[in-house]
Symmetry: C2
Amino acid sequence: MATHSQKDAYLYKKVITIGTVCELTGLSERQIRYYEKRKLIFPERTERGNRKYSFSDVETLMEIADKMEDGMQTSELRKEMQKKQDNRYDSKMKERMIKGQLNAYFNKRD
Amino acid sequence: MATHSQKDAYLYKKVITIGTVCELTGLSERQIRYYEKRKLIFPERTERGNRKYSFSDVETLMEIADKMEDGMQTSELRKEMQKKQDNRYDSKMKERMIKGQLNAYFNKRD
DNA sequence: CGTGTAAGGAATTCTGACACG
DNA sequence: CGTGTAAGGAATTCTGACACG
């Protein structure tokens, strides 16, 4: 994943089975699978079909659990998470613009 | 664990099943269980008895795999790992001594 | 010593469905 | 809409043992 640094390797590596995710989040398997169906979470699959989650997924699920407790619906959560994704792109765009300006600045001096 | 900072949480959390560890390390279940019997690795257990490993354990197993390929025996590996453990204690001791000196220094000025 | 394998049992995970609301 | 549950099958993991060397 080009969007993550080497240091994040363990955060995004999908190695945790659903049972362990249940223990870590306090959610039921049913809930976790449902949030997947609603496109809030994206586990990988083993050849045989078993779901594998990352620590990052676990963090996301805990946020989802909080919001659901507050009465939020999965459809709203979906929008909210889309926004975060957009913000991330915005940040990358800003970085590029700043780099562009720096390049322009130094190119002028050469 | 008092020996690890908050940032290491994901490195030491035991959440990975033996099957996934096999994929990650290229070792067989048999080998991984054997290295446990030889006191080289210390997974946690679920209530039912299933082994759970951390990313740190996976790293250790990859080192073990390298050494075993080089013809080293588990008994030698055991000693080598004991040394590392000792060094860690030495480091902590040094830290404490330095802190002690600093404390003495500032206490003098008070 | 280190590792492969077949054996049998117990727990895990999966999917699709019925249920309530 | 979100989640519980019983159903049945397939893969996972566990232990102790036989095997080779």
